[in-house]
Amino acid sequence: MTVSVAVESFEGPLGLLLELVEGGQMEVTSISITMLTQAYLDRIRRLNSHNPEELSEFLQLGCRLIHIKSLALLPQAGSDEQAEELNQLNIELEEYRHYQLAAATLARNSQHRTWQRQSVTKLDVSELPMPNIELGKLQEAFARAVRRAEPISPRGNIPAHLSQAEVTKRITDRLKSGSFELETLLIETKLRIAIIVTFLALLELIKSHAVRVVQQTQFDPIVIEAVNA
């Protein structure tokens, strides 16, 4: 018996499995699990997806099916466990099917959608009390919205930062034209990480006796000088 169901697109692994079950009139039982697993794997092989995340979701269920199938190969204990796993899978499929049906009902309902009013009733400008907002608050609100719109993705690329070598080079280059105040170095950067890197570079240069850090009296500017200058 071959399973042949024409499906245009699957919405997800459970959707695909459900289609195979219903289309092939199979049941999720120990008798048909081998067939079902085969059919499922055949289909995800043909799944034309370049999205690794999407594919992994399909593979996850594939692995689960293979696992359930393999349990029958084990003596005794295996078949109990298989029955249990099959039962669990049936429960999940059943729940999923409920929502699929509910979604279909909702879709039919959307033919009776309702609308709110589109236009706005306005008072005369003279009667409109203007709200009390400061420009600063407006600026803040904009910054907040934009920040939220581009969240720092945990999986995104780590932004390029200054390396210690770069900062070291920058310091030694500047020393070629004489000593300078530490503050002028820090003023260029506001990022915390860049400030830390700058200090690390400076400490390394002091340790290797390439530079000297001088302060005449307390609260005087801190000056960086080249040692051989």
């Binding site: 997800g12 033919q111 959608r113 309702t114 009733t121």
Partner: protein, 169 residues
């Protein structure tokens, strides 16, 4: 002396967002109880007319009546957005029946990551964040919105078709 029910209708007509019955009570100088019963009265009065009242989470909005969807839709050609995909409908169904619900719980039912889908539904205004769950990590909860009820011609959530297993489809 104009009727309270119609005062409420006039206020709902000019309101830019759904109004909670407490806000309505303040606007008409009445008790919340009076407002609630007048709103029920208004719903009855509007039966059969071109308008209806949608209620969700204690807030009310005046909308076109579901029976007039075809004629209004034809008039509103410009406003139509793309139809919802099957996956979007499924996610909405889960949130409607089970909400407020966390992203994880939705994903457990669907068996797929639902992040992009949720973002899309939030942007369309069909769902909204509804507090956080008490589970560890306090994940956000999602619930359907007024927009959702309007999209599906419901006047409140209790009009959702029953779902418990008796598949008559």
């Amino acid at each position: 002396m104009p009727e309270l029910a119609y005062s409420l209708q006039a206020i709902l007509f000019v309101a830019t967002e759904p109004l909670h019955f407490n806000e309505l009570a303040a606007a008409v100088d009445s008790t919340a109880d009076d407002v609630r019963s007048s709103l029920n009265e208004l719903k009855l009065k509007l039966k059969g007319t071109g308008l209806a009242v949608v209620e969700h989470e204690g807030a009310y909005r005046l909308v076109t009546a579901p029976e007039f969807a075809p004629v209004v839709k034809k008039f509103m050609i410009s406003e139509t957005r793309n139809d919802l995909s099957r996956a979007a409908l499924e996610t909405l169904a889960i949130i409607a029946y089970r909400g407020p619900i966390t992203k994880l719980a939705i994903e457990e039912v669907r068996g797929v990551s639902s992040e992009t889908m949720l973002k899309n539904l939030l942007q369309r205004g069909l769902i909204h964040a509804a507090g956080t769950s008490k589970e560890p990590g306090k994940p956000a909860l999602y619930a359907v919105s007024h927009e959702f009820l309007q999209q599906f011609g419901l006047s409140n959530l209790s009009e959702l078709p029953p779902i418990d297993g008796d598949d008559s489809a």
